[in-house]
Symmetry: none
Subunit: 419 residues, 2 copies
């Protein structure tokens, strides 16, 4: 069975509101094992609603509509679809009674136009609306199924749970066949390199593997279809294969962020961390403190954003800044050492760099030095992000690189030596 989502609403088409309904419906379909191939957004226009419906009927079996069921002049979905299918609209008593009762309860005057929501295409099944006025509708048209739902998320979701899912179960879509995904998150390599390492795993039909590039991360999405047990086994096997080829490039799965993974490793080893970050300006510390319980391992941070602050708050020597340069590997290492002293922590992590828009001396925008200080020594890394990411992009990429350096230290020791 092939499904298609049709979102009706001029404000959706013009991008003035975000289509969260389609996202929700896509997840429901995946859970039921129903393939979703197209999603169309169209405005509140009779002719165009009919046009996209006609096309959808020619290529899909299950059509899910959201929006356009309300009481205003702009609400046309039901009328346009019924007209296309040749179904007359009939007044449904139970729905009219429900609407009248709702307005009485809210002590609002009933405007007659509201009652157009009680007109139902002949033969349609009604999904009651316990949260508002317009009922949902299920129309069986030959071999096709058309389901019309309100655009209000709360109403739509309630109807999906109470009406649509039971209906699709009764039609044989019991979720015995599901489509599930697992995402492996990678730091320290770009999309092209990851794809090269996974060559040969990519041309399968089930499970499939797809790449998503994010700033400072690559996501490998494994998608499997089958019954829940088969799917779990396929996802597990594919994950192991991918990890076998990518090793430590994989830092987490699904929603796990670098900062969560680092937090788990620090907690597990009972180590504390101090941060001295200039170019990331607080972002590194902000990310670390987004993780609940982070005060167990993050003692604190200093953000010496100017040269003066590097000397005063950061306690760096003026001679060092002058000789090595404010942005340099030497200053980065000194900042990481100071982090341990200033915060009284086991480990120190530092970031110094050129976020732009100006260069610093000979160093182009996007040059960043990251250092880690541990009891047994220090290590430092240089990155060249270029100016394309922009100021916020450079800050983000630098924070990713810093968290990844710390993660790899916690996994395999300083400069890769096991400690």
């Amino acid at each position: 069975m092939r499904a298609e989502i049709i979102s009706v609403g001029t404000e959706l088409l013009l991008g003035q509101i975000v289509d969260t309904n389609a996202t929700f419906l896509a997840q429901v379909l995946a859970e039921l094992g129903i393939d979703l191939y197209f999603k169309t957004t169209v405005g509140d226009n009779w002719a165009r609603i009919q046009q996209v419906t006609k096309e959808a009927l020619s290529r899909s079996d299950l059509l899910l509509f959201t929006g356009g069921l309300g009481p205003t002049e702009d609400d046309l979905t039901k009328e346009a679809v019924a007209d296309l299918l040749g179904l007359e609209l009939v007044r449904e008593e139970s729905v009219e009674a429900h609407i009248r009762a709702l307005f009485e309860q809210r002590r609002r005057p009933l405007v007659e136009s509201v009652l157009k929501q009680a007109l139902i295409p002949r033969g349609a099944k009604i999904i009651p609306n316990r949260w508002g006025t317009a009922p949902g509708l299920i129309i069986e048209h030959g071999e096709k199924i058309l389901i019309l739902l309100p655009g209000v998320p709360r109403e739509m979701k309630g109807m999906v749970r109470e009406g649509v899912i039971p209906y699709l179960h009764s039609r044989g879509f019991t979720g015995k066949e599901v489509i599930r995904s697992r995402i492996l998150r990678i730091a320290g390599a770009g999309e092209a390199l990851v794809e090269a390492k996974l060559a040969g795993l990519l041309s399968r039909a089930n499970p499939t593997i797809a790449f998503l590039a994010h700033r400072g991360e690559v996501h490998v999405r494994i998608t499997a279809k089958g019954n829940p047990e088969e799917v779990a086994a396929m996802l597990e096997a594919a994950e192991q294969e991918v990890r076998g080829r990518l090793g430590e490039l994989v830092f987490g799965i699904d929603e796990e962020s670098l900062e969560e993974v680092v937090g788990r490793l620090l907690r597990g080893r009972r180590l504390t961390l101090g941060v001295v970050e200039s170019c990331t300006g607080g972002l590194l510390s902000h990310r670390l403190t987004n993780v609940p319980g982070s005060s167990e391992y993050l003692v604190g941070a200093a953000v010496p954003y100017t040269k003066r602050a590097k000397m005063q708050l950061g306690r760096l020597k003026e001679a060092l800044l002058r000789e090595a340069g404010e942005v340099s590997p030497e200053v980065s290492v000194a900042m990481a050492r100071e982090a341990r002293a200033l915060l009284g922590s086991d480990l120190g992590l530092s970031v110094t760099g050129v976020a732009g828009p100006q260069r610093v001396g000979e160093l182009p925008v996007g040059t960043v030095y990251i250092a880690l200080a541990a009891p047994e020594g220090e290590e430092v890394e240089e990155h060249r992000f270029g100016e394309e990411p922009g100021r916020e992009g450079i800050k983000w990429l630098a924070s990713q690189a810093a968290l990844n350096l710390l993660r790899l230290y916690l996994l395999r020791g300083l400069n890769g030596r096991r400690s």
Copy 2:
């Protein structure tokens, strides 16, 4: 001219990422007075990309594609569209040279597959990509125009501004009738209060006024339609009316963030700022440093995330923490004073609070104290955000309140007294 947007990407179809590109393109089309009638989302599938392109060609004159131009196997848009139109792909020297140079500059190994992005449909105009690798493409096919853009927002937007808009202008779409909006941004009041203050302004047809609630802000969107001069006058007049009723609740317009506005005020008054933030964990400093040139006024920050760090890095007395409590107005004021001393700045701003998940003593999650220290004295505010916003939500709302406190001080002095 009828336009249609085609967003290519399985992750978009399945709702795993939000289609912000389509929103942006819809606004660009509105500016040019070009009608947008359909928006279709389709997965990374050759046959289905061709199917939706064929339909679009039958009903629209201008097709705008985003996504699927990258280097991986899943990137199919260009190849599928070229094949449908019967255009061969030709290697373009300038694009290949650009890609090679970019990889050299970033010191990354060039994986050969990346060079597929240098293949161009014969006859297509190239829109250079100054921010990444894949060029944009403009294909004139009989009376139709097909424009292919990358999915990476930064790259897509740059190409639209530098390539697509000039091209559409040259084809005669100069935007004589436009639809434009202006957003007034409000901090310090919720949606219901703002709506009450604007009662009476709301029922107009042109310009229209709409409310958008965001975390810690309310946006009032004024939308006007007409020729550019009329629209500019309507927006100006409506803005003045709204400001007349809301006064200092309005902190900026359109894209201006609180941190940008604060930065402008600090720079104008030649004042420097130091921050000591515990519960916001670096977010306040991160936001301030997102603004280019912020090192002119932000000296730096300290993030004492634990009690020990409040004493060691923050130099607070243990007696004070014990008697007043770690999270208290007294500690907040002490932190703000210390910010001035630690960073050597004119002003100090502090945040201490309960981000959760645990209460602190009697204080429920979401209790936050914000203080400002100036040469002439200090002020402190209490906020109760509750636990509904969650950890990240409480951090954000606290940073908004801190920036707003600083903004109001810079506008009208300590505790509202002009200084």
